[in-house]
Amino acid sequence: MTTATTQIRLGAEAPKKTRTLWQNAARHILRDKLTLAALLVLGLMTLLCVLGPPVVENVLELDVNRTSIPDKFLAPGAAGHILGTDHLGRDQLIRLLYGGRVSLAIAYSASVMTILIGVALGLIAGYYGGRVDDLITWVVTTLSSVPTLFLLLIAAAFWTPSAELLIVILALLGWVGTCRLVRGEVLSLKEQEYIAAAQAVGVPNFRLLVHHILPNVLPIVIVTMTIIAGNLILVESGLSFLGVGVQAPTPSWGNMLTDSRSYFNIGTHLVIWPGVLIMVTVLCFYLVGDGLRDALDPRSSWRLAE
């Protein structure tokens, strides 16, 4: 009898509905038109690059590697070549689609790998402190005092990597910023009382890290990952422009610009299109990152879109 009444009263006092951080964020994003649009464009771009090539090849009867010297430098709109052809007479549209596959694959997988390395080392350095922290911090400061592009350039040129190896190299040299960020977060989280409470009841270190600290750094990590994905597309294009990124004949948006400097008199369309696609994609990644930052951090006073 008494238990029943207490329950009823508690039920009346409890808030009607509690939302988790993630539900809140989802609601926030659904109302944020710009972020939604950016997500949509990214999704469409990815779908097009993944599913598009076979369709386009069949419909327009093209082949990505077929060269045809008489058809070189055709302007966009030429018969059978919607976006024109390049210096070897290859169709630009189909190359852009295949190139997008490579560029996006690099962006997605290298950003995930970067984050995994950065978060793991950041958690360890921040949580355990001491010698381990000193060592990781030393590696971080050292790696971040050499311009990353130098190291990438050297690594890429010495081993002339495949796209897969390039992803690994990009991740191995790119985790530094994330690690520093996560370490800082963990250092301040460690001072919180609920961590002390968890330690007091004897929660083992690993469980504490995974169940109590990781969920709290996750929002900032997800935001960083989006920004990194955008940066990676830029880095890949820069490396390919220098001739050490993805190697021909595999197209990537970056290496489609490699030779463009030598023929911009006749092939302006070959310079414009890959660049525009890079710009739009990177822009979308950045906008999604900004949107997520607003959505996931209720305290964030710095809102870019207002």
Partner: protein
């Protein structure tokens, strides 16, 4: 203050050693035997001479000794040049720490000399971009913060986001197409010829060649610094001392220029070291776009020629400049913000 600088200098030492280790490991793990690249010179094609040279350079030693020789040289120790088990003459390296970066394999000249030759052009480019980036960035940042939540703010935001999302070299190419090819207003390259022809700088000519590369290179800095300035300013506007200044009855202009701005700019100013590092790296690509005769091109060529001593030397020099930049940043911080000094 001086103890702080000294401590900060000492902190730079382990970082510098870390960099030398990275450079050395890169070379060690690179494919190919460096001595064969050196010995490819016809005058040294004799296998016996090659072997002697290998020993004189210490390249027959285990990696740890090679690293030590590279760092501090081996001319202070006797080496066994002819392989008979007896030490007979001194080594040929003076070592990185004593200013010897080795010989370039391709150019057959000291690496230090080559880098020193190319560095002025790169510094001209990066420092001009730094000045433009900070000037424009701070200007746009102030403009955005003062006009917070109006179309001006929005416009600047769109500009900065797009400026960040573009590959810089691509913007360079587009500008060349428009300004050099179509309208023929600015030269697209040829800086190399100027330095060669005149040996020095013809200011008007040089400036003309600098407009596009400097603008393109500084774009990232402009975007970043303007956002940074805007955020800091908006934050400072909320602070108590600004409210006090307002309630004292000071004019808005006085509050902005004398109270808010100096405080907002401290973190922006101390970012100068990182900004310089980013620009140095960015210059590598921009120099290729505009055929700029600087260190970037030297490095790219060295990497392709597998000119290991030149590559290692460039990495170490670039990192040293970057570490120096960060050091200056930190010192600047303590000079500008007394609170840091007290900690």
């Amino acid at each position: 203050m001086s103890t702080y600088i000294l401590r900060r200098l000492l902190q730079g030492i382990p970082t510098f050693f870390g960099v030398t280790i990275i450079a050395f490991l890169l070379m060690l793990s690179a494919p190919g035997d460096p001595i064969e690249l050196i010995a490819f010179n016809p005058t040294r094609a004799d296998p016996m001479a090659t072997e002697i040279l290998r020993r004189k350079l210490g390249l027959d030693q285990p990696p740890v000794m090679q690293y030590i020789y590279w760092l501090i040289g081996n001319d202070w120790t006797r080496v066994d040049t002819d392989g008979d088990g007896q030490v007979d003459s001194y080594g040929e390296r003076r070592g990185l720490l004593r200013g010897d970066l080795g010989q370039s394999l391709k150019h057959r000249r000291p690496v230090g000399e080559l880098i020193m030759e190319k560095i002025p052009a790169t510094l001209l480019l990066t420092f001009s971009a730094l000045i433009l980036g900070y000037g424009m960035g701070i200007f746009l940042g102030i403009l955005a913060a003062i006009n917070h939540k109006t179309w001006v703010d929005q416009l600047i935001r769109v500009f900065t986001v797009i400026g960040n999302a573009m590959p810089q070299f691509w913007l360079g190419l587009i500008l060349i197409i428009i300004l050099s090819v179509n309208f023929d207003i600015l030269p697209m390259s040829g800086m190399r010829d100027i330095t060669r022809r005149n040996g020095g700088f013809d200011i008007a000519e040089t400036a003309k060649h600098m407009i596009m590369p400097v603008f393109v290179l500084s774009l990232g800095t402009i975007a970043f610094i303007s956002r940074f300035t805007r955020t800091e300013l908006l934050e400072v506007f909320e602070r108590d001392f600004v409210r006090t200044a307002r309630s004292k009855g000071l004019t808005n202009r006085r509050v902005w220029w004398l109270h808010a701005l100096p405080n907002a700019l401290i973190p922006v100013a101390t970012f100068i070291g990182q900004a310089l590092g980013t620009l140095l790296a960015g210059a590598v690509i921009i120099e290729k776009v505009f055929n700029w005769p600087g260190m970037g091109r030297l490095v790219v060529d060295a990497v392709f020629n597998r000119d290991y001593p030149l590559v290692m030397g460039s990495v170490v020099i670039a990192a040293a400049m970057f570490i120096l930049g960060l050091l200056i940043s930190d010192i600047l911080y303590t000079l500008l913000d007394p609170r840091v000094r007290l900690k």
